[in-house]
Amino acid sequence: MRNIFLFIRLYFNLIFFLLLQGLSIYLIIHYSKYHHAAFGNFANQVTGKVNSQYSRIDNYFRLKRTNDSLVKANEALYNRLKMDFELPDTVSKTMIDTIRVDSILQYKKYTYLQARVVSNSISTQNNYIVLSRGKNKQLHEGMGIVDINNAVVGIIYEVTDGYAVVMSLLHKDSHLSGKLLKGGETGTLNWDGKEPNIITLSNIPKSAKVAAGDTIITSGFSTTFPKGMIIGTVVAVYSETSTSNFRIKFRTAANFYNLQYVYAIENVQQEPINKILDKLKQQR
């Protein structure tokens, strides 16, 4: 017994060192599983406050760029206005519409909620974006995030009262599914942790016809993103020797270097889908 204490006293620093290393490696591995812990909330509140102070100043230097991209987004929206299209009159008889006036509201599936980016990283292997809008303003976990030109940015990972943390596409654990616009083949996105704005799309069969410049869109299989939102454009195609799949490198449509404002996408019809899924799970 005495020898044990003697040993501990002799090697106290080494033991303490190994203990702390073990603790930090434990945090690295298990953090994503226990991110609901009180610490996450508290740290996000504190760092979020500091970040939003910083971004208030930083915003002034980017006003011009923000303005330009808003004008571009507006242009795209104006071009979709109904009054700019002339529909040829094809009916010869007047019909009275019997559908309810606000019938569109019934079928609405996605709602956009704007949010300001207060902090954004791209230099590490796991990148997160912080938004200054949180639980008390309708954001919740698992919502899809797009930039102002409707290009995919990431998915909300954690929310506190005032802030939301987004796992960006540039994160090793972010595996969205993407689809080739031309052929319709679906694959999985993953980031190799090296170059920002360049992401890999894997599991595309070699039968697919892909070339540089092709567009990759969201598949619409998950309930987070509407079908057909742009993710990126193909840069290079590699054929894997061991499998019958292509590995496609593509450039993201969203520019992660200068995110200023983003939209969170709320799926209004999520509830009934979840209910069915829960029911199925209980039956099994």
């Binding site: 106290f12 290393q21 490696i25 591995i29 953090y31 610490f39 740290a43 230099s123 997160y128 942790g193």
Partner: protein, 177 residues
Amino acid sequence: MSSFVKNIIRFIFFILIQVYVLDKIHLHQMVTPYLYFLFILWLPFKMNRTLLMIIAFVLGFTLDSFRHHPGFHTAACILIAYVRPFLINLLIPQEGAETNYEEPSFKSMGGLVPYLIYTGILCLLHNAWLFFLEAWQFGDIWYFFIKTILSTAISLLLILITELIFTRKQKFRTNTV
């Protein structure tokens, strides 16, 4: 100013510089400029090793909170805090030099070369351990080596610039043992 207050100010200063200046610079995908761990290198000689590791833990954890994934910088900081006393014992020129001066610098380490070795080794250790932990899932050995070496070079350059801009007054304290 007492050493305690001075170090608290330094702590805040280094974290803010790292998060809001250096992390915003995207030189190249291979190069991540790190400076904040200079805080650990500048801590007083006399500090107890256990306390040193606790302070390193707090520093790394604070930076990790800004990065939203705790563990990476914490582990790297603890490693250099643990190795630091060994290096100082090896590099200090004569007996008792660490009691003559308060904290490591060009002057107290006895010249430019020992100080550069001291910062160089700790810097390399910090970056290597950090990038190793970040990259073990990716497993590209050349990428890891090149990134470590380039980032260490940039960090050393930053440390030199910091030393030149903020000259720390080092009082020579005799007969204080």
